[in-house]
Subunit: 323 residues, 2 copies
């Protein structure tokens, strides 16, 4: 592999001079610079990016780590990237497919100074393993974590979920089915709690969470529409874990001849583009602002120019799938 | 910075032995290995990933370069990634924001052996600049390019576009508005040609392409719905450049009280999820297979185990926005 010594030899100058030219650091006469540059050209020399980064101290590159690209993750990536690019950062997305090894490969890039910071949307390794990388740069996550060194933009969904349930109750819905994402996850646990509190408050009988678990995608929502068509006694409403599930349910129900909200109501979650396109009532969860806050937290660790994360709140967006 | 010599000193072994342990290459006794590993631990040594990659010859990492994340690019990234992951590759996405410098940074990573190949969805630099990087690894693009060293999964949209126009004609549509993406781009030029041929064939008067140019997003489609509401003489149909544009137009038209296809027809392009959700007639452009083909082409350059790219065709998917 070509190194600075080879260039120095061909250019007839010292290695230190070559270094000054390549790193653009210190005085070099015009003629000497030309000699070095033509030697670099001749040898097709590639500077070691790691070595350069170590000198500069920062690569101005932030990594995003996600298991895959869902509708919601797309919104997070897009808005994080826009915020970071405004401040001169390049953003790189690593898809782990939930493979802890691939996540480690990405984390290692911060250790070897190729990344300045990481937005870890959904992790694959233990938090303790991930924590050990915070000595190399800031890590901010979208998930709930109690850690002295990892920041989180997590918002407890309890209040947001309750907002939806109360809206349904006010519109006369008494039998409400909750389509849960994953009952082992903290977000879902908060939703279950909100639902139990709601049932107690209005003296309703809650259904078991296990009955409607692992419902995550547009296709899962479509399956629920078919399930519904086969039920003799139909529920008044569905609360869903995401706009994707709500979109699948609403569009398939319409194909099956149902009218919403006359036949039943549906509430999405996240307020992403598809809920707007399909006029689905949803809970605005400020996903794009969560992404911006994640960037602000990383920025504040890396830069002297501090940015204030925005306080976020849930908003009910009433559209045409509820009365 | 710690190097192998420092580790060798602390472990009391030769640098060659340290190298054997770190690169897991050649025999080292159990006790010696332990000594080296504890020295590595003690010094918090980070192996130079570039140097390791150079030795192994491949990082098993492929880069995807895109300007931003649109609905269509999401489908490309998702399916390319799935195909690549099946063959043991990690995929990294670089967002350039159409900045040639950022694209160059990503290309440089192939030069410095941190990437084995690149799927360049939409480029920012001149093709000649990009071509100069193909000596370091394969580059496949989604765009049309005549290059001896860059492969393309581009499909000329002429036939697909004509498929939509003929379907509209067969259903009685005579005044058809074409919502173009960018009349300077080759894809759009093919569409304009197909429209001109179509008009000549049926003795219709074509509208000027400039009238409906730069219509790309859901929001642009929504604006067209409002424009339509203000027209005294309404067209029979709209051909669009993407499902995103069609989705914005269809959903906003419905909000304004129009019924489709009774009041007018709309055809999307790409057959991505939102066209399914909104029951929009569209042209299946095999985007997910284009992405798979892109991976296969890169794979065939990198691996002895060849994969055959699939021949792709356009299909008209008739849904509920045409008669």
């Amino acid at each position: 592999m070509t190194n600075m010594k080879d260039i120095a030899k061909i250019a007839g100058v010292s290695s230190a001079t070559v270094s000054r030219v390549i790193n653009n650091n210190g005085y070099v006469s015009h003629i000497t610079r030309q000699k070095v540059e033509s030697a670099v050209e001749k040898l097709d020399y590639v500077p070691n990016s790691q070595a350069i980064s170590l000198k500069k101290g920062a690569t101005k590159t932030i990594g995003i780590i996600a298991p895959n690209i869902t509708e919601t993750i797309t919104v997070l990536v897009k808005n994080f990237t826009l915020a970071a690019q405004k401040k001169g950062y390049t953003v790189i997305l690593y898809l782990t497919e939930n493979d802890p090894k691939k996540e480690l490969n990405a984390l290692e890039l911060m250790r070897s100074k190729q990344l300045d910071g990481i937005f870890l949307i959904i992790r694959s390794n233990d938090w303790s393993t991930i924590e050990s990388y915070t000595k190399y740069g800031p890590i901010v996550t979208w998930q709930r974590v109690k850690s002295p060194c990892i920041s989180s933009v997590f918002i407890d969904q309890y209040d947001g979920y309750l907002l939806g349930l109360e809206h349904l109750y006010a519109n006369g819905c008494r039998t409400i089915i909750n389509l849960y994402s994953d009952i082992r996850r903290l977000n879902t646990k908060s939703r279950i709690k909100a639902y139990e509190y709601f049932c107690k408050k209005y003296d309703l009988t809650p259904h078991s969470p296990e009955l409607f678990n692992n419902i995550n995608s547009i296709q899962d929502g479509e399956h629920i529409a078919h399930w519904l068509a086969n039920q003799e006694i139909k529920p008044d409403a569905f609360m869903t874990s995401s706009d994707a599930v709500a979109a699948g349910l609403v569009s398939q129900a319409k194909r099956l001849g149902y009218s919403l909200p006359e036949d039943f109501s549906v509430i999405g979650f996240d307020n992403i583009e598809i809920s707007h396109l399909l006029d689905i009532t949803t809970i605005d969860y400020s996903i794009h602002k969560q992404a911006e806050n994640a960037f602000k937290m990383i920025n504040n660790d890396l830069s002297l120019q501090k940015l204030t994360p925005e306080e976020l709140d849930f908003t009910l967006i009433v559209r045409k799938t509820t009365k």
